[in-house]
Amino acid sequence: MILNVLTGIGIAFFAFVLQTSIAGINRKIVGRLQKRIGPRWYQEFIDIFKLLSKRSVSHGWIFDFGVIMALGGIIGTAMFMPITSSFVAFQDYDNFFIFVYLLAVGMLGMAMSASGSGNPWASIGVMRALTTMLAYEVPFLIVVLTIVNISGSSSMTGIQIYQQTVGNNWFIIALPLGGIVGFISLMGMLGKKPFETYIAPAEIASGPMVEYGGKQLGMLFILHEISVWIEVTLFVHLFLGGATNIVEFLIKYFAVYTLANLISNVNGRFKIDQVVTFFYKWPLLMAVTQAVIAIYFGWVI
C-alpha cells in the first residue's frame, strides 16, 4: 500500500518534470515558428521557481485554501494515471470515470479560490472556463463511451491492451471521426488557442489567474503542468494505443502536445458563444455519427 502511494507520488513528480520540460521545448519551437530564437528549454522551471521565491498577498483564507485544494486534487488525479499498459500505481483503479471525477476537484478548487479573490475578471474567467467545459465534454464523452462500448472495458489499461492486441487498430484509425473529435476536445481541455477564451490575457486579463501573484501563481503553474499531462496522456491512451514502454509513451506524448501547440499558434481566439456553438455543431454531429456507425452498423476499421 505504502509502495503504491510512493509510486503514485513518483508518477505525479514525473508528470511535472516531463510536462514542464516539454512546455519549455515547445516555447522554443514556437519561437522558431515566429522566426525568433526562443527561450532556454528550462525557462519554465525558472519561471515556476521564481514565482515560488516571490512574496505574495492573500485575499482571505478561501483564496489560499482553494489553490492548495486544487493542487492536491490534481496530484491525486495524476497518481492514478497509468504511464504504460503495464505500469500503474493502483492496479484496477485506473477507470476512465475516476479521472473525470477527480479532475473536477482541481477545477472546483481553482474556481473557488478565484472567486474568493473578489475580482470581477476572475468571476468572468471561471464562468467561461465552466462554459467551455460544458461545451467540449459532451462530444468527448460520446466518443469515449463508443470506445468503452467497443473495447468492453472502461479501464485505461484495458483500453490500451485492447488496442495493442493483434488485429485491432488504434482508435484514431478505427474511429477516424471520433479521433478528430477527441483531438478538438483536447484542444479545448488544454485551453489552446481557438478555445483560449477563459484565459484571454488581452481581453479579461488572464481570467481566473488575475489576482494571483508570487507563491499562489507558482502553485497554479505546477497545477497547470500536471493537468496538461493528465489530459494529453488520456488522449494518448484512448486514441493512440497507449504505450508498451516508456520511450513509446514519450514519443507519442511529445507528438500530441507539439501538434496541439502548433495549431494553437496559427489561430486566433473564439468568443465564448462561438466556442459553445462550435462544439455543439460539428464535433457533436461527428461524434454522434461515429457512435451510430461504430455501434449500430459495426463498421470499425
Partner: protein, 192 residues
C-alpha cells in the same frame, strides 16, 4: 599534517543562510522578468520590435504579463499626467515584491518635451523609486534591450533596491505624491 578526524562543517548563521537563499532566488528572478507595460507615451512603439523576432526578449526569459500581481517589472513608457500618475501608484503598490521599475524616454527623467505642461509631472523618481532609466526621445530598441540587461546586472549585484527604498522612505514618497496630486485615492467606478 591535516587531522584525519571528522571536523564538523562550520555552522552558518541565520543571516548567512538567508543571504544564500536570496542569491539563489536572485538567479531565478533575473532570468525570468515579466513585464507590466504601462504604455502612456510614444516610447511604447519601441516595444513590439523588442518582443518579436527583431530583438526577441523571450530569449532572456522576459515576456509581457496581464496584471500587476503577476509582473516583476513596471515599465513606464513616456510622460505621466497627474491623472495617470494616480493609477501608476495604485499599480505599483499592487505588484508583488521584489518589484522593479524601468522608465523609458526622457519624459520620466525631466519632463521631456512636456516639461512646462501644467498637467504632466517632471520627475518620476520623486513619486516611485526607479531602478533603470533608458534615456532618449525616443530610445532606440537596442537601448531598451540594454536597459533590461542593465537591470539584470543590478539584480545580480543586489543594487536593484527600489522596492526596499519605497519601504524605507515611504513617508517621503507619500508626501511628494500628496503635494502633487492633492489626494492619491482614485474615485471612480473601478476603485471604490
Amino acid at each position: 599534517m591535516l587531522s584525519t578526524k571528522f571536523t564538523p562543517a562550520t555552522k552558518l548563521s541565520k543571516a548567512e543562510i538567508d543571504r544564500k537563499w536570496w542569491e539563489i532566488g536572485d538567479f531565478f528572478r533575473r532570468n525570468s522578468l515579466w513585464l507590466l507595460m504601462y504604455c502612456t507615451g510614444c516610447c511604447a512603439i519601441e516595444l513590439p520590435p523588442a518582443m518579436t523576432s527583431a530583438y526577441d526578449m523571450e530569449r532572456l526569459g522576459m515576456g509581457p504579463m496581464a496584471t500587476p500581481r503577476q509582473a516583476d517589472i513596471l515599465l513606464v513608457s513616456g510622460y505621466l499626467s497627474l491623472k495617470t500618475l494616480r493609477r501608476l501608484i495604485y499599480t505599483y503598490e499592487q505588484m508583488s515584491e521584489p518589484k522593479y521599475v524601468v522608465a523609458l524616454g526622457s519624459c520620466p527623467i525631466n519632463g521631456g518635451i512636456y516639461h512646462d505642461s501644467h498637467a504632466v509631472i517632471n520627475q518620476l523618481d520623486q513619486y516611485i523609486p526607479v531602478d533603470v532609466y533608458v534615456a532618449g526621445c525616443m530610445p532606440n530598441t537596442e537601448a531598451v534591450m540594454n536597459g533590461f540587461v542593465d537591470l539584470m546586472d543590478q539584480i545580480k549585484h543586489k543594487t536593484a533596491n527600489g522596492w526596499k527604498k519605497y519601504h524605507a522612505h515611504f513617508e517621503w514618497y507619500k508626501e511628494n505624491q500628496r503635494n502633487s496630486l492633492g489626494e492619491v485615492d482614485v474615485h471612480d467606478e473601478f476603485h471604490q
